[in-house]
Amino acid sequence: MTSPPLSEPLGNRKPGFSGTIIGFTSDHENIESAAVEQLREMGFAEGLQVSILHQNPFGKDPIAVRVGAMTIALRRREAKLVQVTQA
């Protein structure tokens, strides 16, 4: 057993951050919450590169992130469900 890599929520990072998605925070261990499912449907997935491109000029929230080939805008509250590690 190797210890899991150190992770932190994407929602806590600043523009310029770039890393890899290692998982999602869910309410229950085996059943994913609706919010996480929606994130997956939008294109978030384990192993994908993610970087924060922009944040809202008026309050740093929402942020615009690059995931795979897409750019997605989301609020930090949802971004905190995405666990990332420094690349």
Binding site: E41, G43, P57, A64
Partner: protein, 621 residues
């Protein structure tokens, strides 16, 4: 319309067009069916049911379903997609074939949805769309391998250039006789399908490509903390300035045309009721509205171009913070911006908002966005009362006042939203999750088609609602005739004069004379009719010289400045047109909310006009 669907379904196979937002689904649908439809780049553009037919091969009925990321419906329009493809929709029959549209530049992501649709057990064809953009980004896909992996025909297409359409039509036609996709299990959860999709994508993508580099570079500028909001507000400001300055020449031409026609009729026809009907009724009324066609087209030009380039989603991103402060989310910005053109499509676009309370709030404040029908009202009053001069470095004062009026509408919408979210539409705020699509050159053909449609709708309104209300008003304004030895203009003795005098009692406290009061009534049919009505009323009560000078100078002589300002304030809020009330009833499923909307807007309008009139009188007095 529904009957037609039922008839079609019996004869021709139904093809449902399904795909993620921004995959070029609507463009492909248009290219296949030749049906005119607005193409927009933001999620939720397709909120209405669109159907069309392919007659060339096999006679197919095509249905364009709202864009969705999955069959887990989260909003009213995604619900439609879910119901139709699962055969649980009220009127729509279960489709015979599914055309799943996929963006070739984003295969891994879009494939997950294809795998989900596969499970439905309906014959399927995949259109690998935007292959031109994929080629430009140096992405190369092994189509044969992809088709083999998912067990479904895959056709390469470029919807906007009409490439691959013949092959696609043939594949669809063959698919009506084909069995459902084979029973391969690609997983049952989002996570499992996501994994399977990525595996297939990496096995069939020969070259990964360079990504949407151009888009990211443009976003560096347009989403820059300083330049971003500056550009957005600059664009909005430019839009309103352009509405004034670009339209000036064509408007003068139309005005001169109508004027010469009136003079021509006056010199050729003998004086009498018929001449009055043509000149004071139809030409003065309808003409007063038709003259605004150039302005409305310029406004729509901006909105259509912003939509089709993909900028609209960026605007939503920038606006989200502001919208969040009143309990809404940035997604509401898109229907609200459409409402600047017309509240009806705006209210319908609110279907893409998942949260019911947010959707209701958006619908209720949509009429506060200054729609293009109010433009004629603002323009006439501004032209009559605001001097045409520049202030502070070449900014036109008239355009500035227009901007302030639009701003007043926006700010009151935000205030009303904040109040509604704390009272009748109380609840937790919806989240904001929006794909920022890649930038694309505006599709000129679609922008022109959109403009043509707006012009057609506007002129049809001028030819029907406005013409009819103008005629009715003219009749009421001419009968009964003035008694012999009358001292006032004949119209004062007519039915219009009587109605106006009665209403004046209500509206006198806000500075409205009887002519304005009476013009507000037909203004309910469509807002711009108020101007048509003023045209008719003043044309009948004025002298020849006044008529020739046009409505602008007539109003300038007849109204005081406080009255004009009060009139402008009135139109920031009210009245609703009948179509807005009707669509609100349809979208909220009852009379409760449209009644609430009319009531609150009327109260706000009266209050704002009252304050404006009193303050202006006091300041100028």
């Amino acid at each position: 319309m529904n009957e037609q669907i039922a008839v079609n379904s019996q004869v021709t196979p139904i093809v449902a067009v399904v795909g993620n937002p921004n995959c070029g689904k609507s463009a492909l649908f248009n290219a296949l069916t030749g049906l005119r439809q607005k193409v927009a780049n933001y999620p939720g553009a397709t909120v209405e049911r669109r159907s069309g037919r392919i007659v060339s091969a096999g006679n197919l009925t095509m249905i364009d379903l709202p864009g969705a990321y999955s069959l887990n419906a989260r909003s009213a329009d995604e619900e439609v997609t879910h119901q139709v493809v699962t055969g649980t929709h009220d009127v729509e029959a279960k489709p015979d074939v599914i055309l799943s549209v996929v963006d070739a530049t984003n295969l891994a992501q879009h494939l997950r949805f294809v795998l989900e649709l596969r499970e439905l057990g309906i014959p399927m064809v995949v259109a690998l769309n935007m292959t031109d953009l994929a080629a430009r980004e140096r992405i190369s896909i092994d189509v044969a391998a992809l088709s083999a992996q998912i067990g479904v025909p895959v056709i390469e297409t470029v919807a906007v250039r009409k490439k691959g359409l013949a092959e696609l039509t043939l594949a669809l036609s063959n698919a009506t006789l084909a069995p459902a996709p084979s029973n391969v299990d690609f997983g049952q959860t989002v996570k499992q399908r996501q994994k399977a999709a990525r595996k297939i994508a990496s096995a069939t993508i020969i070259s990964e490509g360079i990504g949407h580099r151009t888009t990211r570079r443009i976003d560096q500028v347009l989403l820059n903390p300083v330049i971003g909001p500056g550009t957005l507000f600059g664009l909005l400001f430019l839009m309103f300035q352009a509405v004034f300055s670009w339209a000036e020449t064509p408007m003068e031409l139309i005005e001169d045309g109508i004027g010469s026609l009136q003079i021509f009729l006056a010199t050729t026809l003998s004086d009498g009721l018929f001449l009055s009907f043509l000149n004071d009724g139809i030409l003065a009324g309808v003409g007063a509205v038709v003259v605004f066609l150039p302005q409305i087209l310029i406004l729509f030009l901006f909105i259509l171009v912003l939509e089709s380039t993909g900028y609209m989603a960026r605007a939503a991103f920038i606006m989200d913070r502001l919208m969040a402060s009143v309990g809404l989310n940035g997604r509401a910005f898109i229907p609200l911006l459409s409402s600047f053109a017309c509240a009806v499509p705006g209210i319908m676009a609110a279907r893409s908002i998942a949260n019911e309370r947010d959707r209701l709030t958006t619908i209720l404040i949509a009429p506060l966005m200054t729609c293009s029908a109010r433009l004629p009202v603002y323009t006439v009053i501004i032209a009559a009362f605001i001097p045409n001069q520049t202030v502070g470095g070449g900014v036109g004062l008239q355009g500035l006042v227009m901007f302030v009026l639009y701003l007043a509408g926006i700010l009151s919408a935000l205030l009303v939203a904040a109040v509604l979210k704390r009272t009748v539409a109380k609840g937790e705020a919806d989240t904001f999750l929006l794909e920022l699509p890649k930038y694309q050159n505006p599709n000129i053909r679609f922008v022109l088609t959109g403009l043509y449609e707006r012009a057609r709708i506007f002129l049809r309104r001028a030819g029907t609602i406005i013409l009819v209300s103008t005629i009715i008003l003219w009749v009421l304004a001419v009968y009964p005739a003035a008694p012999i030895g009358a001292t006032e203009p004949a119209i004062s003795y007519s039915l219009v004069g009587m109605i106006g005098s009665a209403l004046e009692v209500v509206f006198a406290p806000i500075g409205f004379n009887w002519e304005i009061s009476v013009a507000l009534v037909p203004g309910m049919a469509a807002r711009e009719v108020a101007i048509a009505a003023l045209g008719t009323v003043y044309s009948l009560s004025g002298s020849e010289a006044m008529i020739e000078a046009g409505l602008v100078s007539v109003l300038n002589n007849a109204w005081s400045l406080p009255t004009a300002l009060s009139f402008l304030a009135w139109f920031i809020f009210a009245p609703q047109c009948l179509s807005t009330i009707a669509v609100t009833r349809r979208e909220t499923g009852g009379w409760k909310w449209p009644a609430f909307m009319v009531a609150y807007l009327f109260v706000l309008a009266y209050g704002a006009s009252f304050v404006t009139f009193r303050v202006a009188t006091w300041l100028l007095g």
